[in-house]
């Protein structure tokens, strides 16, 4: 977190992350271009530009596969959260790798003609009515455009400008981008290959991405089902759980009938409820920890006071607070969120419960 503007707020973690991401690309491309040919036993190789296009194209596909696997993996095992932390940089690197692939293709297959390259790209094959021979380049263009939009809008300026919900919605374009890329490969490279290796890799990627997301969706649905609370009376108070459900420094997350998620924390013997979505990227605040008295988001470390949902000065981010009350053994939350910045005094646990919890 910083109030001072800088294009990229470098941290040790980001540098380490980017170094690993670049190492992935460098290792992949160098081995593809330099080492693999020594294993082919003198079989003639394709043109240099084509081999380089293949190297960068397949690398971009694999990077995109990794990017898409990080989210669901982090849902199942929080140790993967550091991979989520700087995923935007991995996305930008993927976009640059894909652009390199496109440049090689454009300057080779679509060069040397009296038709300008970009015009040739769009006009040389117009058989959109057939599967075999379909202009698979169109899917590549769509995937690249989506990756470009994601890369350009990945900066926090756009996150702030568009607001987190719109920005997140925009960045769901990663899924159609992946779909376009798979179609690009399936109707292009795989139709010309006689060796099944890349087809197997592509299939494994699709199965992995789909299965991880399906498993994560099922996991989330189950959590939502068990965490959904409904009003027991005509007013807007919802039961969050029993007093004994709470653990010091942790939250109970509940999905309200309103569609909002609320995180109810127990901190130093007091209960406090705030919105579960971080103001930065809608990260799950309820899975965060309390550090230096502030709730800290597990995604990027944005911090909020539990009492009023505000980031400590000089930061200005805010999330809503909710009113809480204890009815016997049950903790109730008022589903009507308070206006941003509203201070709510944390509710102390009854002494008996505190003693039992200790």
């Amino acid at each position: 977190m910083s109030v001072k503007y800088s294009p990229v707020q470098w941290t040790q973690s980001k540098l380490f992350y980017d170094a690993i991401a670049l190492a992935l690309v460098v290792a992949y491309v160098l081995i593809y271009l330099r080492v693999a040919p020594t294993f082919t036993g003198g079989v003639p190789s394709a043109d240099g530009a084509i081999v380089r296009a293949r190297a960068f194209g397949t690398c971009a596909f694999l990077l995109l596969t990794v990017i898409l696997c990080i989210g669901p993996l982090a849902r199942f095992d929080r140790r993967f959260l550091p991979l989520l932390y700087n995923r935007r940089h991995l996305g930008v690197i993927t976009c640059l790798v894909a652009l390199t692939h496109a440049a090689y293709v454009l300057n080779w297959y679509f060069n040397f003609s009296s038709t300008p390259r970009f015009e040739a790209l769009l006009t040389s094959n117009t058989s959109y009515g057939q599967i075999l021979g379909f202009p698979f380049e169109a899917f590549g263009i769509l995937a690249l455009l989506a990756l470009l939009v994601l890369a350009v809008s990945s900066h926090d300026f756009w996150l702030s400008f568009l607001t987190a919900p719109v920005w997140k919605l925009l960045h769901y374009a990663i899924y159609p981008a992946y779909g376009f890329l798979v179609a690009h490969i399936a109707l292009g490279a795989l139709q010309s290959e006689t060796n099944a290796t890349f087809a197997v890799v592509t299939g494994c990627s699709v199965v992995l991405v789909c299965r991880l997301h399906a498993a994560a969706a099922i996991h989330e649905t189950r959590l939502a089902r068990t965490a959904t609370v409904s009003a027991s009376q005509e007013d807007a108070w919802f039961a969050v759980g029993k007093l004994t459900d709470f653990e010091e420094g942790r939250a109970q997350i509940r999905l309200l009938d309103t569609g909002e998620r609320v995180a109810v924390f127990l901190h130093e013997g007091h209960l406090a409820a705030i919105g579960n979505a971080c103001a930065h990227q809608n990260g799950p605040l309820g899975e965060g920890r309390i550090l230096d008295g502030c709730l800290t988001c597990p995604w990027h470390g944005f911090q909020y006071r539990l009492s009023d949902g505000c980031s400590p000065a000089p930061f200005t981010e805010k999330v809503p607070t909710y009113n809480l009350r204890i009815d016997g053994e049950v903790v109730l939350v008022d589903a009507r969120m308070n206006p941003l910045g509203t201070k709510v005094d944390p509710v102390p646990l009854p002494l008996v419960t505190q003693g039992a919890g200790a």
Binding site: S13, I20, Y28, V29, V35, D47, L132, G133, Q191, R250
Partner: protein
């Protein structure tokens, strides 16, 4: 739940917790190792593009022969060079994705001298005629007739390609991933060729024309690089085969 709660809490702007360091090192190593293994697996699985290539090492070739422009420009060599003997028939193209028809339209059946760089793939010979004015010179003298041997009507299965890339201008110069490039070549006037899955009289490579021996219509572009069957008559001209196709017989296989 409790297991997750024991996980060290990572915050990007703080040092990485000790409990996570080993995990992240292992994951990083697995990723880099996995990418390296995949690079090797995918890189070594690339198809063999064949031996076709520009014969740059031969230097510029100067050859003389009888020029034919139907269905596409061909040169039947009468006086060859060190590397291109007399009796060979060359597919002709210009520099880049261009044919030479506009430059030789008035030289059909004439004796000409051509200068350019050769392409060779097996028995396929091609010449990329230079762009300059001296690359095509009409000569006086009689051009010897070329023997034409009809080989009957055939139904062939195979792939329509552009003759220049197939001969080695690009490697690989065929297949669906090369389709747009092949179309650009054909639009530019490079001769289309048919690569048959079964040989006719020992040949599996044919210069294409329509049933009357004229250039193919633009509709053929929709069928380039796709496995198709076509019917038509085959004839041998010099040492090259010409497949005059009945386009209504085209079937995508």
């Amino acid at each position: 739940m409790s297991g997750q709660n024991q996980t060290p809490f990572f915050i990007g702007y703080l040092p990485i917790p000790h409990g996570l360091r080993l995990f992240l090192v292992v994951v990083s190593g697995l990723l880099i190792g996995g990418f390296a293994a995949l690079a090797l697996a995918i890189g070594t699985a690339q198809g063999n593009p064949g031996t076709g290539d520009f014969q740059w090492g031969w230097g510029p070739q100067e050859v003389t022969g009888r020029l034919e422009i139907r269905p596409y420009p061909l040169l039947h060599v009468t006086t060859g060079s060190k590397h291109i003997p007399a009796g060979r028939t060359l597919l002709l193209s210009g520099v880049g994705k261009k044919g030479v028809r506009p430059r030789v339209a008035k030289l059909d059946g004439r004796l000409v001298r051509l200068k350019g760089f050769a392409l060779k793939r097996g028995e396929i010979d091609a010449l990329q005629v230079g762009d300059n004015n001296k690359a095509i010179v009409a000569l006086d003298g009689k051009a010897p007739a070329v023997k034409v041997e009809p080989l009957g009507r055939w139904r062939l299965k195979g792939e329509i390609c552009d003759g220049k890339c197939l001969a080695g201008a690009m490697r690989p110069g065929r297949g669906l991933s090369h389709r747009a490039c092949a179309n650009l070549c054909l639009i530019g006037g490079v001769p289309p060729v048919f690569v048959s899955s079964a040989p006719v009289d020992g040949n599996d490579f044919f210069v294409m024309g329509d049933s009357k021996g004229n250039p193919l219509p633009p509709e053929i572009l929709h069928h380039v690089s796709v496995y198709v069957s076509l019917e038509g008559t085959v004839e041998r001209r010099g040492n090259i085969m010409v497949f005059k196709v009945d386009l209504s017989s085209l079937k995508v296989l």
